[in-house]
């Protein structure tokens, strides 16, 4: 572990940013991932400027850990009287001189928090301020620096802690109504979005639906077509989309059928270990790579339907409707954002509604649901597989698989959302109904395709490991046990961590303090 210290002179705008510059040079030499470097630089520069603008002098201490970078910024300044206020975007106490230079937007502290994985601020009026920002150097190995797509909307959380308890990965902490997603644990499932009533956890969607999308190719998940009620069946919605200015519209239906067939064919071979797990849901693939690495060999080596569809479509510009964070992340990892626009289903639905949907005669469409051959193979392959949906169920079945309890199952088709993709919380329609409609549409309209083999093998993620070095991990583990012994063990979750074990881990890894525990202690100094 290396520590470095930089001094920051207050009020010196000429040399301001020098500490950040020096830090950057160091990080570039180490070969830090550019996306991580960007986050470190924003956090470091904002923290440094805070000292320059508000304080007389300060220091920036940087600790380079194996997998993280820890910045501690201390200053001798006036301190902050109301930290909650200071954390709000747009609130600033910067003097006129600083404002003239373009500072004082009231974005400094929020920017630091946004760009760090762990953030803490302490301040006492008249003495100074202490900021600690920790940034993980290599978050998800599996997604090659693209991280995940869930974000927290500021100031929306009601502090109900439902997400903390629901997250199957124990990846959420909520402190003072500020949810924090531990990126290295998050697998991009939709559990937290599903239970969050305030809408604080949402999709990282910066794009918009281009109404004038001439010549673009639109890729949509089949379930999206099933969101418009009985009077507007998928076939009809599909036709409306085709006529709304895109050069072509493709659904994932064909690729879904192709994947099912490929997985079924694979399961026939005797030498292939059972159950064959279908990679249909990217979130479940993430889950396996993170929490069940021993099951990686069971995953069929094919692309998920959306990935397959993207890889088959060479036309540009490409527009893709991502129905959940895992699809969104996949899409971002496959294409630079400048080449493609990703839109969320709710935005698409809004656009669709503007297109004056006319009711159509249902009977007419039933006749189109033909194509019996496809239907049979579709049904047959779905009968052979065990379909499990919803994260809790999926985790349970994967645990059983790991324990060798489901060897009688040939194919395991798992979805992170209940009722499969139709159950994404981003959709409005009843999931069972939408799923039913989408399936019928796929049966009748899927153009047979061939499943696409994965180029990259599945790889275990380091997310859950305490430390890449086993010896270090064991030391950490024993520390966690010690801390765990001092905690009440009630698993109340009031500290913002899902249970006492998670808090103990957070304390040892520096993400939380022992004082976060709100339960009265049985053991401890005060009682004796």
């Amino acid at each position: 572990m290396i520590r470095e210290s930089y001094t920051i002179a207050g009020g010196n705008y000429r040399n301001a940013g020098l500490a950040s510059s020096l830090l950057k040079t160091r990080l570039k030499k180490i070969g830090v991932d550019p996306a991580v470097l960007r986050r470190v630089m924003i956090a470091a520069y904002e923290a440094e400027m805070n000292v320059v603008i508000h304080a007389d002098r300060g220091t920036m201490d940087v600790t380079f850990g194996d997998s993280y970078l820890d910045m501690e910024i201390r200053d001798e300044g006036p301190g902050i009287s109301d930290i909650t206020q200071a954390m709000k975007e747009g609130y600033s106490t910067a003097p006129e001189a600083a404002r003239e230079m373009g500072f004082g937007a009231g974005m400094g502290l929020p920017n630091i928090r946004k760009n760090s994985d762990f953030f803490r601020i302490e301040s006492s009026v008249g003495k100074g301020t202490y900021i600690r920002a920790t940034i993980r150097l290599n978050t998800h190995k599996g997604t090659a620096g693209h991280g995940n797509s869930l974000v927290v909307r500021e100031g929306v959380c009601s502090g109900c802690l439902a997400c903390v308890r629901a997250c199957p990965m124990g990846a959420i902490r909520v402190h003072e109504k500020r949810p924090e997603i531990l990126r290295h644990r998050c697998v991009d499932c939709t559990t937290c979005m599903g239970v969050c009533e305030s809408g604080a956890i949402t999709l990282k969607s910066r794009s918009f639906f281009p109404v004038k999308a001439e010549r673009g190719v639109l890729l949509v998940p089949t379930e999206l077509l099933a969101q418009f009620g009985a009077a507007h069946p998928p076939q009809y919605v599909f036709r409306v989309l085709e006529k709304s200015g895109f050069s072509d519209v493709f659904t994932t239906a064909g690729c879904e059928v192709a994947l099912r067939r490929a997985v079924a064919e694979r399961s026939v071979h005797k030498e292939v270990k059972k159950p064959v797990i279908s990679p249909v849901c990217p979130a479940v693939v993430n889950l396996i790579e993170t929490r069940f690495p021993s099951l990686i060999s069971l995953l069929a080596p094919y692309l998920s339907p959306l990935e397959a569809l993207i890889s088959r479509t060479s036309a540009r510009p490409l527009l893709c409707v991502a129905a959940c964070p895992s699809q969104f992340t996949l899409f971002r990892s496959m294409y630079d954002e400048c080449e493609a626009i990703v839109v969320s289903p709710s935005e698409t639905c809004a656009v669709m509604r503007e297109q004056e949907l006319r009711p159509v005669e249902i009977g007419h469409l039933h006749a189109e649901n033909g194509c019996l051959e496809e239907k049979d193979s579709f049904l047959e392959s779905s009968q052979k597989s065990l379909i499990v949906s919803g994260m809790n169920e999926v985790v349970d079945i994967l645990e059983r698989t790991e324990n060798g309890l489901v060897e009688d199952v040939e194919i395991l088709e798992t979805y992170a959302c209940s009722y499969g993709c139709a159950g994404s919380p981003l959709y409005r329609e009843n999931p069972a109904l939408a799923g039913h409609r989408a399936d019928r549409f796929s049966m009748g309209n899927a153009q047979p395709k061939v499943a696409v083999k994965r180029g990259e093998p599945y790889r275990a993620r380091e997310g859950m490991r305490l430390h890449p070095n086993l010896a270090e991990a064991i030391v950490l583990l024993s520390k966690i046990d010690t801390v765990m012994g001092s905690l009440p063990g009630k698993d109340c979750g009031m500290c913002g961590a899902p249970d006492c074990a998670a808090l103990a881990e957070d304390i040892v890894l520096g993400r939380a303090a022992e004082s976060d525990c709100v339960q009265p202690r049985e053991k401890g100094d005060e009682g004796q």
Binding site: R14, A16, G17, S20, P34, I42, M49, F103, R215
Partner: protein, 116 residues
């Protein structure tokens, strides 16, 4: 898009000598350091009225391809040397922010068309 071409097409003057220039794909305009910092990327041209040393500092930190200043502001030797040291191109547009951004947008959009 190549910065020299972009400058020519929007009628801006380049103050830094030609050399290894990065291409521009995005544009972001603003007069707040924090906002510019947040939006900056290796392919984002920053358009701003802020002609001060801190602007060049963030340009260097975020490795932006260039900065476009507005309303024909005079550029000091010191600033140019700062930019050259960082590898940041410095453009000065005769127009204000709205007009300049409009022109850049046109260029980047038509450039995007060519890619297709």
């Amino acid at each position: 898009m190549n910065i020299d071409d972009l400058a020519e097409r929007i009628g801006a003057k380049i103050f830094t000598p030609p050399g290894d220039r990065k291409s521009v794909r995005f544009v972001y305009a603003g007069d707040r350091i924090s906002e510019l910092l947040n939006a900056a990327s290796e392919r984002t041209l920053l358009v701003t009225n802020l002609a001060n040393s801190q602007l060049f500092r963030i340009a260097a930190l975020m490795e932006v391809p260039g900065i476009c200043l507005l309303n024909g502001v005079p550029i000091g030797e010191e600033m140019v040397s700062l930019a050259v040291g960082n590898g940041t191109a410095v453009l000065v547009s005769r127009e204000g922010m709205f007009e300049t951004c409009g022109r850049i947008y046109q260029c980047l959009v038509t450039e995007g068309d060519k890619d297709r």
